[in-house]
Amino acid sequence: MQITSAQYKHCDLVKPSGRIDSATAPQFAEALNQIMAKGQYKIAIDLSQVEFISSAGLRVLINTQKLCKRYNRGEVALASVPENILSALELAGFTTLFKIYEDVLTAVGSF
């Protein structure tokens, strides 16, 4: 898995690519933790290049969302979600916990 991140005026953008499974989820969590450690809690995640996400990846998403939403200081928004990844999010009941945008620009612009 590769991860890139960028800082925008109103949010941070994280773009993982490849597989997010039990082997790679800690790396995904670390990238998000580094952003939160800077006091940034408005995070857009571009999922367009993610081929696979397991429950280990979903755990990272839900734990990050809990931390970001605490004290109303921010939230995690998801963008460009591939069909298979979306069906995993739906199965886990995550589509009610995250705002999901069709493209990255709209997600970044939502903050």
Binding site: R19, D21, A23, S54, S55, A56, R59, I62, K69, L91
Partner: protein
């Protein structure tokens, strides 16, 4: 009248029970699922269920101090793709774990049990057996009979 049946196709592979094996296990499962003529959505779901099952074996059956292998046997017959996962670890029955509440508000969501959803919802049959030698988990996905 006798119905002629093709003999099943069997593939077997053994992987070290480590998270680093998950990508290799995925490649193996995807190849076999494609050979079973499953469509891409179903292949993804079988891949996900096997990933969760193997992650559970690595985390719960073997745990931090036990090492071993995951033996993965795949059988394609006329009706189904059957995936049998064997390990030599402690007993771990995924069927015994309760499902998480996926309608709870964010703060009440637990971060465990989600993997079992993928196994239960995305496979057609899940069978578990502990023999004394280890765990055997059998995952079955029916093939589309119209294909």
């Amino acid at each position: 009248m006798e119905v002629s049946r093709k003999p099943p196709i069997v593939h077997k592979a053994v992987f070290p029970a480590r998270y680093e094996s998950l990508a290799s296990i995925s490649r193996f499962i995807r190849q076999v699922a494609a050979q079973a003529d499953l469509d891409s959505t179903v292949i993804y779901r079988v891949d996900a269920a096997v990933d969760e099952a193997c992650s559970n074996i690595i985390e719960h059956a073997y745990g931090d101090h036990l090492t071993g292998n995951i033996e993965c046997t795949c059988q394609i017959d006329d009706t189904a793709l059957t995936i049998i996962l064997r390990d030599d670890g402690r007993p771990f029955n995924p069927n015994a774990i309760p499902e998480p509440d996926i309608t709870a508000p964010l703060e009440e969501r637990t971060d465990h049990g989600l993997g079992l959803l993928f196994i239960r919802k995305w496979m057609d049959e899940v069978h578990y057996e502990f023999s004394g030698q280890g765990n055997t988990l059998t995952l079955v996905k029916y093939r589309n009979p119209h294909k």
